[in-house]
Symmetry: C2
DNA sequence: CCTTGATTTGGGCGAGCGCCTAAACCTTCT
DNA sequence: AGAAGGTTTAGGCGCTCGCCCAAATCAAGG
């Protein structure tokens, strides 16, 4: 077997097991067994269990980054961009259900926060400048970090608490219909926030606003 | 030392360590050392490490329940009630920072979901009937589960991702000012949702609506 | 064909885990 | 004083963990 194939099989098994059981509760022996690979190979290819987690996170964030950037470029109008990015993110989480489990747990445990922060920072910076470009004079109740945290929270909570929501409501929160309903709700709330950010402006006025901010954003883009 | 004192010391240490390191990464020896108690006493008083977690969760949810019920009774008008409950919840999380770490992690790990669900269910039911009483005919984008999940998510994300937010913004998200700012933001968004739930009604009309629903709620209260 | 270096294998080391046991220690009551 | 029952103690059992190692295997170049 080619080495990259071995690495891929180990990462696949790791993805599944870290997602299902968590970093601590998963043993390197479990991973070896599930991937059909000798347990010493994990350390040969990845060095240690911690570095294995890093490699897994790298894979996630690389794919997420590509997905979100693609979504961002689909449209030029900020509100549509926001919707596209949120949809893309939700889709990504739905397709990589283990991802948010892993992130959530490692953030909560506090031990791998640095690994998460390092990979989240680019997204945060992008979101910040983007939001700054749209609403440079947001009121304090709709300050940048607040809005980002809320939107992020609304999206991920559905997935991290999926199993709980399932037990509470008796319905599958990951069915296509449920995901679609969630998507609609989040977009609705985001639309409300947009209306507020534009100071309750009419659609016409809002159009002018985003045209101004779009020009600014594009100037910035071509500059870098 | 009195037995309850021993139990309390063990629970204190458990609270700290489960919050800081997580269930798996904390050993019963750590707990014994931190609480200044013989390690066999943990099993004598609590039976097993899993039951120790249960006891810890019981303590959390008992206190949370008392806190939220008290907040709910401060006012009769739904929008104020919502604000009070959200504030009380945020305060509780701020004072029991380990709580959401523990819950978050155990939910993500999937192994103690039942323990969490069993204790969350009463809150969910309460929130459901409450919201149903206020807005019996909510549009699909503002369906009950959606709104509850979003509000819950907005509140807890600030705490669960606190350490990440701190690193991203360079500011302490748990300072009194930051907590106050967060509180204001969430209340603002909730107010937006309320306005929507009442179909964009004017304040006057809204007043009528909540008076109707208040009567219904109070009839229910006096009935139980 | 033989060498070389990368990859894979089975076996196991040392440490740490949750949990248990038997004896000692306290109160409290008779 | 002595019995009884609820607590506390030191010690350790059986097991699993992450990681390592020496030998085996493989692919490719001379």
């Amino acid at each position: 077997m080619r080495p990259e194939e071995t690495r891929a099989k180990i990462l696949d098994a790791t993805d599944h097991l870290f997602g299902a059981l968590g970093f601590d509760a998963t043993t390197t022996r479990d991973i070896a067994e599930r991937s059909g690979v000798n347990k010493a190979l994990i350390h040969y290819h990845f060095g240690s269990k911690d570095e294995l987690l890093s490699a897994l996170l790298d894979g996630y964030y690389d794919r997420l980054s590509a997905t979100l950037i693609e979504a961002l470029q689909k449209s030029a109008e900020p509100e549509l961009q926001a919707g596209d990015v949120i949809d893309a993110y939700a889709d990504f989480l739905a397709r990589n259900r283990t991802f948010c489990s892993v992130v959530q747990r490692e953030v909560a445990s506090g031990r791998h926060v640095e690994a998460i922060v390092a990979r989240t920072l680019p997204f945060f910076r992008l979101g910040s400048t983007w939001l700054q470009g749209i609403a440079p004079h947001a009121p304090p109740e709709l300050e940048l970090t607040q809005v980002l945290t809320s939107v992020y929270g609304m999206v991920v909570t559905w997935f991290t608490y999926g199993r709980v929501i399932e037990r509470l409501t008796g319905e599958d929160p990951f069915s296509p219909e449920a995901l679609e309903a969630r998507r609609r709700h989040v977009r609705h709330v985001v639309a409300l926030l947009f209306r507020e950010l534009n100071g309750g402006a009419t659609p016409k006025e809002r159009e002018k606003t985003w045209q101004r901010s779009t020009r600014r954003t594009q100037r910035k883009k071509s500059g870098s």
